[in-house]
Amino acid sequence: MSRTITIEPVTRIEGHARISLQLDDQGEVADARFHLTQFRGFEKFCEGRPYREMPALTARTCGICPVSHLLASNKACDHLLSVSIPPAAERLRRVMNLAQLAQSHALSFFHLSSPDLLLGWDADPASRNIFGVMRQHPELARDGIRLRQIGQQIIETLGGKKIHPTWVVPGGVSEPLGAEQRDAILGLLPEGLEIAKRTYDLYKGLLPRFRDEATRFGNFPTLFLSLVSPEGRLEHYDGLLRVKDAEGRILEDQVPPHEYPRLIGEAVEDFSYMKFPYYKPHGYPQGIYRVGPLARLNNADACGTPYADVALAEFRMLQESGPVSSSFHYHYARLVEIIYALEMMERLLRHPEILDTRVRARARSNRDEGIGVAEAPRGTLMHHYRIDETGLITWVDLVIATGHNNLAMNQSIRQVAAAYVDGNSLNEGMLNRVEAVIRCYDPCLSCASHAVGQMPLVIELRDQRERLLDRLERTCQS
């Protein structure tokens, strides 16, 4: 008799998701699905708004990565204005983006994934949480808080507000950087880099423990999509699209971001509100690809900063040949990117023209369609707007980083479930690993995909008539 296991909620505030595992007659996993059950409809309710409101509106999509939306949206507005923003403004936007990348990756590693990585997949769930980490590794937990604080302080120094700065505007930024502000930011970076380096070294030491998870956590061939610089280097703010396949062959390169509709199709499924983007030339669902830190490191020829390039070389050694294929190594890639972000911010801030007072190009709209693409912490973020002759939005398409990974997240759940789930007997270790493979992607389902310690989950085993056969529940209080 085939049965379905339902894990719900995967999250319970704002980002509502569910996992269902379909078992065959032998109790083995036949299929698995990741359902985003929440609908927010930003693309619809933005219609009719003035395009200049879009950065402020879409930045509220997320309380963790608002800077990414702010940048992608303003880039789409730059496109509508048909302006090229001043070089100092571009460098300042880059610094803000990298500061957010560092703090967002810090959240993912130090506070969301560290309980599994440091305390063990099968540790007592009562202590396998952030407070368990605080007890056993208080310095690491403090490092995580400090690194986040550094990232947020940089954003606040630049933008005036930590969460939703209005300093980035269509055409550039509203105010130039002062020498005092620059020096204040530069003063934060050495401490941040020291934290990043020692955490990276700590993680490398832990890696041998995770051979099994690295083999089974989203380890399959896919394409990888990201921006790269014109020289093929790691890129987070601008650049050109690159698609690489699982063997390392470059399928698309130097593609201008506004041509993304040629590469990316968006499918829908009746079991989720999250779209299923795919690589158009391969069709759906064969055009599965991954974005985010794993894809960015796989696609880049080099980072371009000293310590990050050393770390990138070590990252490449995780795989005998070709791109690193296991989604487990998103954790590793995040740590490399934190190092890169801190190194690159220093380079940008020491540029002789960083204090240039020409930071904004002014224009009216000169096009009726604008596309802005940037790399958010979780992957490539695309904002695409159409406006009418009065500047009101008539159509919006947002391709969010977590959405790009939707097909891969579904396949990862299937792989982990097939490897660890015994449909005849549910247990906590299985449940934790299903959670953990999702966490590798650090999905941002409107800021809601992770637990402080324990994600409240219910796994139900039902027969074909939906009769409850078995139930395993884990609450925050357990």
Partner: protein
């Protein structure tokens, strides 16, 4: 020791902006060096260092479980399972628990909330029910600020 006032909520969702809007108003008006005021969308772990040298914290938030415009002042204790299921953002009690667990510091804390009437997206104004009780909320805040560091009380 300074007193921290933390207003949080989404500024584009109507009454959810009560906390950050009031915090911004207070921040613009005060020159009292003992007050440290922040307006945030959500509460995140990087705020914990802000608590370390404060003996009192006042959180300002909108509430869904009270009548529109109803003011409620609750004393808060640290809780490791305060209510949020995610670390992308924290409940005020979780923020206090992180502070206590990592830095052995436990400031006295209150949650001053007002019942929301509307949380619509792309809504930039407070509802009349919430807007009209702002002066009364300010009085609550002043009362809390007048308390000496050693005073106690579960409700204000």
């Amino acid at each position: 020791m300074p007193v921290l006032i933390l207003g949080y909520g989404s500024p584009i969702r109507g009454d959810d902006a009560f906390g950050p809007l009031l915090a911004e108003q207070l921040g613009a008006e005060t020159s009292d060096p003992r007050l440290r005021i922040h307006a945030r969308h959500i509460l995140t772990a990087d705020l914990i260092p802000e608590l370390l040298d404060c003996d009192r914290v006042i959180f300002l938030d909108a509430a869904l479980d009270t009548a529109p415009g109803e003011i409620r002042c609750q004393r808060l204790d640290p809780s490791r399972t305060g209510g949020s299921s995610m670390a992308h953002f924290l409940d005020p009690r979780e923020l206090l628990a992180w502070c206590e667990a990592l830095y052995d510091h436990r400031p006295r804390a209150w949650l001053l909330s007002v019942g929301a009437a509307s949380l619509d997206y792309a809504s930039y104004r407070l509802s009349p029910e919430v807007a009209r009780v702002i002066p009364a909320v300010r009085v609550h805040i002043e009362r809390l600020l007048e308390q000496t560091p050693t005073e106690t009380g579960s409700e204000a």
